[in-house]
């Protein structure tokens, strides 16, 4: 079976069958990471370019590990050590990389839409590893796999996404993917962090997190992205933590079996209190483990077979 798309630029590219195939493949690839030899020869001889034009540890390491577990060669490429610093345009850089004939390109960039631009310039599949304020599809897929693992189902669940919805590509990809898969999504955060056009999505909107927490089966906390705060959107981190952070107080009406997720990196004491981040409800580290499996599945599905 093949995916219906050549690139993974956003959740919008995927239909329900694609999502099911990705999750199933990821689930069955997980076992490789538990073997004495954590490597299979599936992508031997394939070259994967990891182009991270924006800082990343987790996602980049996750893609690199996924590629290596499938025996692909990886080449890292970042903005700081590239010719972009010497004045080369992004498209020229990518055309040069294309000339080296890679089999797949993973790209992260601070501007929305760059992966789409590159996908038109290269012949190989492109995976969006996060573009500006737009999408982060692999994060949404690994979150979905984590939810499925724990809740044993997806359809009909209530998921609350809390925090800076406007600046979060994780939130956007998750809203799109979860609603596509039949999950009831609610979003909550300060009004200053709610996108103006949030009503175009099929989600419930709240400005007080106590409205969404009691019915949530899963709570996804978003990171306060200090690097993306162009203006002051809340008076202080302390105030944010008190009203919009997860802590014993805000959690008191949560379901007993609520699952807490966070895409990382965690600002402890801001969006999530340490005792909550380390509680049995938290699956933050499962998300990281599942991230490798989901990315292995995507690499396998996008560059395993020949083009047809």
């Amino acid at each position: 079976m093949n995916l219906s798309t050549h690139h993974i630029l956003g959740v919008e590219d995927l239909n329900n069958q694609d999502v099911e195939l990705i999750l199933k493949t990821a689930e069955n690839l997980k076992e490789i990471s538990l073997r004495p030899v954590k490597k299979v020869p599936a992508l031997r001889g394939k070259t994967i370019l990891l182009c991270f034009f924006e800082p990343s540890t987790r996602t980049r390491a996750s893609f690199e590990m996924a590629a290596k577990r499938l025996s692909a060669d990886t080449l890292n490429f970042s903005a700081s050590d590239s010719a972009i610093n010497k004045g080369e345009s992004l498209l020229d850089t990518v055309r040069n990389l294309q000339a080296m004939d890679p089999d797949l390109l993973v790209v992260r960039h601070g501007f929305s839409g760059i992966p789409h631009l590159l996908a038109r310039a290269v012949r190989c599949p492109v995976i969006n590893a996060g573009d500006g304020l737009h999408e982060h599809p692999t994060q949404a897929l690994l979150d979905l796999l984590t939810i499925q693992n724990i809740k044993k189902k997806i359809k009909g669940l209530n998921v609350a996404i809390i925090g800076d919805i406007a600046h979060s590509r994780v939130a956007r990809s998750n809203i799109l993917l979860l609603t596509k898969m039949g999950v009831k999504v609610s979003v909550a955060g300060p009004a200053s962090m709610m996108p103006a056009a949030i009503d175009q999505y099929d989600v419930e909107v709240a400005y007080d997190i106590r409205e969404v927490i009691p019915k949530a089966d899963v709570i996804m906390m978003l990171r306060i992205q200090r690097e993306r705060q162009d203006a002051c959107r809340f008076p202080s981190l302390r105030e944010y933590a008190r009203f919009f952070g997860l802590n014993k107080q805000t959690m008191k009406d949560a379901k007993k079996d609520v699952v807490i997720m966070h895409p990382g990196p965690v600002n402890r004491g801001v969006e999530i209190a340490p005792e909550i981040a380390d509680s049995p409800h938290s699956v933050i580290l499962d998300q990281v483990t599942n991230g490798v499996a989901v990315r292995m599945a995507l690499l396998y599905l996008l560059c395993g077979g020949k083009e047809i």
């Binding site: 069955n28 490789i32 004495p36 490597k39 396998y300 077979g305």
Partner: protein, 180 residues
């Protein structure tokens, strides 16, 4: 249109596994049976049942998906769907019998052997197949063979198992679409 010829009934399949189990039991040592997905898995369970009856010991059982080890992954247009690999025992030092339905080119078995050594260094690997249809492309032979038959290139040996196909039966089909 396809012509179908019955090769083995359920009773004959059972007889084959009983005979194999006798040989396995005669060795007197504990073995692990690993079925190759998809149809090798229920067949491994079938063989294990007879081994258990004869030796009063339950053989270890595993399932292996070999798709990630195929030598034609970059040739095939359609991606093989990855199924679960489950080897819930230590491979290191264990005698292993691989179980598959049909032995044909031998490429699946090559892939399976490569996969197994990634789990550890087994004491030995032996091969049990229900049907050997000839046409080997690699120097691989079975240690336990249920039925050996001569086939032509346009024939398909189809092993059906209750768990996946609703019945236990082996048939030989002529597939005219394979004739050029």
């Amino acid at each position: 249109m396809a012509e179908t010829k019955l090769l083995m009934t359920e009773e004959q399949m059972d007889q084959v596994f009983l005979e194999m189990a006798r040989k396995v039991a005669a060795n007197g040592e504990d073995v692990a049976l690993i079925g190759i997905r998809s149809r090798g898995v229920p067949l491994a369970h079938w063989l294990a049942k007879h081994v258990e009856t004869l030796t009063k010991r339950t053989p270890k059982l595993g399932a292996l998906d070999i798709n990630l080890y195929r030598d034609d992954l970059s040739e095939v247009g359609e991606h093989p769907v990855i199924k679960e690999t489950d080897i819930p025992f230590k491979v290191e030092g264990t005698g292993i019998i691989l179980v598959d339905d049909v032995l044909y080119t031998g490429r699946t078995i090559r892939a399976a052997m490569d996969a197994i050594v990634d789990f550890g260094r087994p004491k030995y690997v032996r091969l049990a197949v229900l049907v050997d249809r000839g046409w080997r492309e690699l120097p691989i032979q079975a240690d336990y063979t249920g039925k050996k038959i001569e086939t032509t290139a346009d024939e398909v040996v189809k092993v059906m198992v209750k768990e996946l196909d609703g019945k236990n039966e082996v048939v030989l089909k002529k597939d005219f679409s394979k004739r050029f």
